[in-house]
Amino acid sequence: MNNIAFNIALPLLAAFLLPVIHNGSAKASRLVGPFVLLAMCWFAAAYFIFIEHPVALALGGFLPPLGISFHLDQLSLLMAVIIPLMLLLLWPYTNREGFREEALLLLLAGASSGMALSGDLFNIYVFYELLSVASFGLAASTHNGAAFAATFRYLVISGLGTVLALTGIGLIYTQTGTLNLAHIGQLAAQLDNNVGLAAFALIVLGIGVKAEIFPVNGWVPEVYATAKPRISALLAGLISKLAVLAIVRLLVVAYADTDALSLLLVLGILGIIWGELSAWRAKDLKRMFAFSSIGQLGMVLVAFSIPGEAGMFAGLAMMLHHLLVKPALFMLTENWSGSISSLTGAARQSPLGAALFILFALSLIGVPPFPGFWAKLIMVTGLVGADDSLYLLALGILLTATVIEANYLIRCAIQLYAPADENSSQSAKHGRLTLSISSALGVVLIISLFSITPLGNKLYQIAAEASNRSLYINTTLSNAQVPALRKIQ
Amino acid sequence: MKSTDLDRIEVNPKTMPKRTNPLANVFDDLVRFCRSRSMFMLHYCTGCGAIELPPAMTSRFDMERLGIQPMVTPRQADILLITGYVSIKTLKRVILTYEQMGSPKYVIGICSCTVNGGMYWQSYATAKKLDEYMPVDLYIAGCMPRPEAVIEGLQQLMDKIKNDQANSWKQYYENYDYYLGNQQKLFGNNWQTPTDVIGEAEIYRLMGPQTLGEHTKILQQVQKPMEPLEMKL
């Protein structure tokens, strides 16, 4: 039971040992990363399959609320499985620059698994810090001026964000006197005043930097445009989801039905408007996908701000769908960089790439048979369910945003199939690796298309469990288990 | 211009032989009577005589009581009024208009210029004898005959039609070679009108012995083909 902690420890250890192994034998160091990720997958999957009810692990023998405790319920374990899988998919197999990027990726893996699993607010903050450090390194890995400038800007905003998050956590600590999420949940009454709300706002703005929430996502287009497509896929696809999950955890536990929800809703709506509108005018593919991911994350935020199970369900559906589609689209930009007008006739040079582009675009817009439509349908029914005029406004904006999204995505698609003219680039051919990655994601999308009903029920079950506040509190406080380091199954 | 050409055209055309069964004759008389009582006049003012026609049509002399209406296009008209001197350029258009009319058609030459060239007799540019170029039914002399004279002429034409003496339009088909010869003399050998007179003569069985001659041979060499656009699948 206690080896889930390995999921965090192992990658960190591997990250630090990598330079040593590299000096030993370069070939061996290449194998370390994938091996560690496979192990992480194995452990997390083992837990995810056998768990019936959420389990709280008190690390280091100290019972919560004093000690650090991990909260393992289906949602966090699901994320724990997804993280290594995505990293395996986006691992730099053909990497020649040496081990630094691999080490950072392993660091990223460890930090994100920690953030997904941990049940302690400060612990989440620490892992979040580790995560942003790793993402700075990765974002700057293209070693050119634009990348450095973008990463620097990202650094400034992220630093400021962490300061805010810390003040937020401090405020919560002054109010409730504890940092354990479950304990905070128990004392939620004390946070139900202005200070509590301000604390939540600060944490949202703080952690929101990575979750591309409206005011703090100034860095997104520059970083995604200049970073390697694999890195921006990771950042946009995976890391932003973890940040959102952290906020949602706090929301479910402490601020269940306060007007924190409307704060999230407003930020989500603004995110959608800003994201979709600026994507409409974007000139090159990478920036367009960056803005579109801001818009999509705005939608995810709006979905999570729906009170109760329906909100969690809709949010999870939108999140997982975006996690599947966006990395694939980013991978396509590997050979399709440069302005969109240079892409005219690119479909002739890489027909499979264009077909995949259209598949993912249709699913993103929400054309019926594709899972994107079902996610959007859940969200729409959820928004209507919460009969409050602000939610109806959100529904309206969501629908108009879809129209704008359809406009610029189909404009690109038609541009691809238009006859090639003089300013279309000649090197629009896709590499075999990138095509294989995005087609793998495409296959997953199509499988989920056919098996939509079972997936829907499983997701509903996860959402129900995750949004159950009382279950969270008493699993952590009442029957936390002490993991004996000795018993390793 | 040998005089022999002249007498080949009998000047006062003999009446057509009566048809055998009486009913056909009654029908022919009726049609001839209606033809005489309803004449559509193509108001082709080629020269100064045309100024006499409006008074003939309006209230004082009122041609309509005789059944004569002015019409605009040759397709609808029966009478072609040549009112005045016919210059060679105008003669080309007059011949085209004449050939575009549906027969039985009648030509009335008003003013002495059509009879013998009138006061322009020694001009190089005018045609002297109209009936060399097309069969003329009636001349109304006078250097602009008064409306009474015009009406009198038209009445004489009505009488001629009623008792079947106004068949000169058949002359044009039966003696087409003679007329074509005169026309080619004036306009040169590659003179051609869009209407296919020889084809028409064949269709309506009006081919006389003199229809084809050396002038029509010249015409056939020069003529650009003008077969009608047949509907074909």
Binding site: - | V31, E64, M71
Partner: protein, 301 residues
């Protein structure tokens, strides 16, 4: 059932003949009135008949193709069929089987047929004439349709036979003209415009486009158009009589009414020069449409 079919077939054959004869006299009356207005003697009694027999008696004539022939056949045939829908004293024909709206559309078949025939003459004068004729039709058909709506709504049915029956039931007071005077005036205006006589004669303008559609019509083609003219006058006046003047109780009063109705536009016609197409549209869309709408407003409540 069988003899009623035979009866209707007999009526359908007889009505066009009656229409042709009455139409001839209507044409004669029109030309006589025109002559009298211009202080002329005017044509003899059977002049329209002479013209038609002479035109059909023509020995050579030209045609521009099969569609040119079919155009004239449709023009004459369309009106022959339209006559069968116009009830006359003693004969109802198939008026009960197709109402007022069918008649209005059947009167468009001849103009479409003529338009096709003239189209194949391949003469721009004809095409310009036809484009002006169709524009004039667009112009005068709007008040005509409003009048039809008013009458049909007032009598509650589009069946001409029942319209005439209701009018004759109450005598003069029941006539359309006494119950809907404004509509009657608008109807007269529309009738006049639909005849295509002097002020609205832009599509036959002899000076500018050489009698428009009739430019290439000689011999039996022009004869067909003269026959169509007789039918046109007859249909217009009989329709007006059956809508507003209570239809025909017996032939004498019926003919008097028809000739009186036709005399009015003819008298007006020969005193006016021609309107240009756009002025014609402006005039017909302004006054008759206003009158007709006013009439319908009265009918509606």
């Amino acid at each position: 059932m069988a003899n009623s079919i035979l009866l209707t077939i007999l009526e359908v054959i007889l009505m066009p003949l009656v229409a042709f004869i009455v139409g001839l006299f209507m044409v004669l009356m029109m030309r006589k009135l025109a002559a009298k207005l211009q202080r002329r003697v005017g044509p003899p009694l059977f002049q329209p008949l002479y013209d038609i027999v002479k035109l059909y008696g023509k020995q050579t004539q030209i045609s521009h193709g099969l569609i040119h022939d079919i155009g004239i056949i449709m023009a004459v045939g369309g009106y022959v069929a339209a006559e069968a829908l116009l009830p006359v004293p003693g004969m109802d024909g198939i008026a009960a089987k197709g109402g007022l709206v069918t008649l209005a559309y059947l009167m468009m078949v001849p103009s479409l047929g003529l338009a096709l025939g003239v189209g194949q003459c391949a003469n721009p004068n004809g095409s310009i004439g036809i484009s002006r004729a169709l524009t004039a039709m667009l112009a005068y058909d709007i008040p005509f349709i409003i009048v039809i709506f008013g009458v049909a709504y007032h009598f509650g049915s589009t069946n001409l036979v029942s319209i005439i029956a209701t009018q004759q039931a109450e005598g003069i007071a029941g006539w359309g003209i006494s119950e809907m005077p404004i509509l009657a005036i608008a109807g007269l205006f529309a009738l006049h415009a639909s005849l295509g006589k002097q002020p609205f004669e832009i599509y036959i303008a002899p000076a500018e486009i050489a009698t428009g559609p009739m430019v290439e019509m000689g011999g039996k083609f022009l004869g067909g158009l003269f026959v169509m003219q007789t039918f046109q006058l007859y249909t217009a006046s009989v329709l007006y009589v059956s809508l507003f003047l209570g239809g025909g109780e017996n032939w004498v009063t019926f003919l008097i009414k028809c000739f009186a109705v036709l005399a009015i536009p003819v008298l007006i016609a020969y005193l006016f020069p021609r309107y240009r197409t756009e002025d014609l549209i402006r005039l017909v869309w302004k006054w008759p449409v206003m009158l007709a709408l006013l009439g319908v407003a009265f009918v509606m409540n």
